[in-house]
Amino acid sequence: MPDGSFAHPQQRQFNPYSDNGGTILAIAGADFTVIAGDTRQSEGYSIQTRYAPKVFRLTDRAVLAVNGFAADGNMFVKKVKQRLEWYRHAHAKDMPLRAIARLIQTMLYAQRFFPYYVYNILGGIEEDGTGAVYSFDPVGSYEREACRAAGAAQSLVQPFLDNQIYFKNQKAAPGTTHPAHLPLSDVLSIVIDSFTSATERHIEVGDGLEIYVVVAQGRSPQGLDAFRGAQELSTQPNGDRMFIIRRELKKD
């Protein structure tokens, strides 16, 4: 209309969310935890970048993997890190892992009606020195587990982990039981196999793999320092030790 009004009702819409693909995964050992994620970031059929980290070091003994909508993920990690810094200033120590887990729940639930479109997996070392994995849904429901996969290839990886980590559908040899926790070398093999498998069959997974390993204080890193391409990130000489392993994944 000449006066600037419309003859017909108009509708406008804005979708504030997007899905950036990728997959994350964490496995807890008896005295270590492995947290991994691929580095491809995509939207639809387009790859935005082949290197966008989804796994972040929070403290000397806590690592957070975020998957889903990358913008929300990055902002969420930023805010968690900020809250952890405030905690350090107030209490002169790092926040314990289980407290970080609860913090993440409250931070996610605070956005209950406009959620961070992100699946979180928190891994690290508990105060008692055990390896721990906490997994979250976008609004903060969480649970401590021994292993969890999330993201685009969750449906490919999780049943494989059920089989290889929990020994589901497997019977132990007579007179033996299945181990509650696997040694680090086995866990690393399973993680790498999971990602190469997911890369093979899922278009949103690939390019690079970042594996964080947190080993409890005083425990042997089980030959990890000799592991090909393992880089130590530890800040203190006698604290928990943290390593990162980078691997290439197929780029097609």
Binding site: A153, S155, L156, V157, Q158, P159, F160, D162, N163, Q164, K168, N169, Q170, D193, S194, S197, A198, E200, R201
Partner: protein, 208 residues
Amino acid sequence: MSIMEYNGGSVIAMVGKECVAIASDLRLGNQALGISSNFQKIFQMTDRIFLGLPGLATDVTTLKETFRFRVNMYTIKEERELEPETFAHMVSSALYERRFGPYFIEPVMCGLQKTHDGSYKPFIAATDLIGCLNFAKDFVVAGTASSKLFGVAEGLWEPDLEPEDLFETCAQTLLNAVDRDAYSGWGAEVYVLTKDKVIKRTLKGRMD
């Protein structure tokens, strides 16, 4: 409500060393309600061909009957046994005949193909619901748990497995995949086909 997920069910076939395996769950459901824990989806077509039919259950039965009829007609007219590769094309044409009103089935098949020197070569194939063939070299999957089957199979399968190892790989792949799928499960069965025998095993699985 997807028609492909109305009854639930999954099938996988794998290649081994001079052998092939095919496995399926046994559930028949009406969406979330379980009706039967003994609904077979794998059918023997000839001595050396097995066919798995996951998808809409009415079409499972209809197609099983259709292919029994067509294989019999082929055998009588040609006076020779049907080869797996020929059968795959028979399946493909049968489905493509209904291109614009399809059977809601994604067939998975396996067999042993006779070669020129008289030995047998493992054969697997799958098609979509309108008959687009996929001749994979390693494994093929279909059904409501297909993404899970892909993930586990990709992690467990390796080339040249002996019959017993192939059975274990196939069984573990199926069991762990269907346990993460609400529409598949309720028991399972595995067939391993070698040049001189067929091994059928019914598996105990989670019943939830």
